[in-house]
Symmetry: C2
């Protein structure tokens, strides 16, 4: 079979599948940040009318999927598959959200890289004609993530300066091969992440744990495509936060592919202002999901971005691995996007 490949490990999408719609549903704190006008809805109630934070998170993911479908003018019956995940054990937020849609479902786990993982897989499957319409979703919730990964909120644990703030929110994108639908942007290349583990063990410093994986993916993407940072209007990483952002800048400098700080940013830095007291910035699957589907797609729509590399990062830790003394494996998946014309 002919291989759609450029370089050693970057995948070409000859059909340039389109992202026809995206939706971002954000929590209260996220709605007080600089991107507030990019979100489809801001939910003031942390519980979103549900009885638990986990169910609330699922409601966020469902609301994002529902809003995305409405914006694309499609019904759930028209969607060939949903690809999604979240940070919770057994990705219950995604499963419970998709249960209500009754769509064929491919569950993913990529920690905070999930939005990029789902876009990468969906773009390939749509490009190849295996799916016509694919719905990509991801979510996180500050309250469910804290008690999942760290401490119950009620414990009132003090957060170290390297900590990030898990975003409450969900995003959804509609990837399609149907040329009757509009193209906010086109998917052109996929670079699948490798696991890189530099022996960081601090679950409150995930930026440092993930940055080497982001550097690995970026270096491979650039070597494969012959591109440099200057070929992108924007390279945006998932949720490295302040520490990881700076580590990635240093790593890329060291490896001879420096990033231009004016055209490289991180979703975790975009979503909050320092005044919001989030220490190193936002994190969680929902962070890159709402920044991508709210902010980045809006800028494509307005024409202020022409070519973007979206690279969400994930820290593949679990509370059990942390307790067993394991270090934190990082991963970063990248998808290159271009304006339609």
């Amino acid at each position: 079979m002919a291989l759609h490949r450029i370089g050693r490990s970057t995948i070409l999408l000859p059909g340039r599948p389109r992202i026809a719609a995206g939706a971002a549903i954000a929590g209260k704190k996220e709605g007080e940040g600089p991107l507030r006008s990019d979100f489809d809805a801001i939910i003031e109630d942390d519980l979103f009318g549900e009885e638990s934070w986990e169910k609330a998170e699922s409601r966020f993911q469902y609301a994002a999927a529902d809003a995305c479908l409405k914006k694309a003018g499609l019904t759930p019956e028209q969607i060939d598959a949903a690809l999604g995940g979240d940070l919770l054990n057994q990705i219950m937020a995604a499963s419970m959200a998709v249960r209500e849609l009754h769509i064929p479902f491919l569950g993913l786990y990529g920690a905070c890289s999930t939005m990029a993982e789902s876009l990468c897989i969906a773009a390939m499957l749509v490009d190849g004609g295996y799916l016509r319409h694919a719905l990509c979703t991801a979510s996180s919730h500050f309250c469910s993530a804290e008690r999942q990964y760290r401490f119950p909120l009620e414990y009132g644990c003090q957060r170290p300066p390297t900590a990030q703030w898990t975003v409450t929110g969900a995003g959804a994108s509609l990837v399609t091969g149907d040329d009757r639908l509009p193209a906010l942007c086109r998917c052109t290349h996929v670079t699948i992440g490798r696991i890189v583990d530099m022996a960081v063990k601090d679950a409150n410093n995930m930026g440092a744990a993930m940055a080497p994986a982001a550097a690995d993916t970026l270096m491979r993407h650039m070597a494969d495509t012959g591109r440099t940072a200057a070929d992108y209007d924007l390279i945006i990483s998932g949720d490295l936060g302040r520490v990881g952002h700076d580590v990635l800048l240093a790593l890329m400098q060291e490896r001879g592919q420096p990033l231009d700080p004016a055209r490289y940013t991180d979703c975790g830095l975009e979503i909050f202002t320092p005044a919001q007291d989030v220490h190193c910035g936002g994190s969680g699957c929902g962070c890159s999901a709402v920044v991508f589907n709210g902010h980045i797609l809006r800028r494509f729509r307005e024409g202020s971005l022409r070519r973007v590399l979206f690279m969400a990062t994930g820290a593949l830790l679990s509370p059990t691995t942390s307790q067993q003394g394991e270090s934190i494996p990082g991963i970063a998946h990248a998808i290159a996007l271009e304006a339609d014309t």
Copy 2:
């Protein structure tokens, strides 16, 4: 883009990607069962030389991947992506196994359907030329699963008659588009599962929770392809166990597409004998993973199977959803396989 579709929701794989190799690494109890001669290795030590059951499970998954690559005559560097998962929180067994291989990694969560989910996605991506060589992996471990989902083993909880026994083991398959490699079998169709939830809440009766999802996938597969059960030498579900197996037979009878009990079986019934005191049979990602990669691929190699529908089932519950009173969403992904010539 041309759509590779037959019927409403079944995906055709025109290039018929091949499964070139499979490996199954099983635990002690599984090695005492009827399939013992089908496994590549039987590990007597539950801990596999590691310090925890979780790390042991990861070691099983690594060993299966390693054995599969050796059988295919490939090195990790030649693999374009690994697609895998397991039952543990944040799929740590898969992540830690792939970390050692340094292969691009797509993490999946499909509960016990993971082996089929990974084969379905890999078969599409290989068929489309997005990956040349894809490595699919899945694992489970009795001890890590019990403490993850139910009770710590030390508690000595009595198991109800509907309970199944989580298989300790891991499987790996190599899906490839390289026609220089042998074809144990070819992948011809994929039917992605939908979430079906019939409000079963008993985490000790997962067969009943999953059987309606299996019926949904089977009915769609048959309607789409125009096939009936008689078109398959074998239809094998993932891990419905005795209760789920019988529920599926009844549901298919009721819906006018009866299964022939002589040519329908369940991985959970094949792996143990009733004398092994496993109540309703085996379960876990590892169950369908070792039965598929050990037993089914061996029978393809020997020519005693010509056409098989492999349909692993998953119960998308988490301990948190159970504690919050949620019912158990089920899912089943199916992949149709044919002998090479």
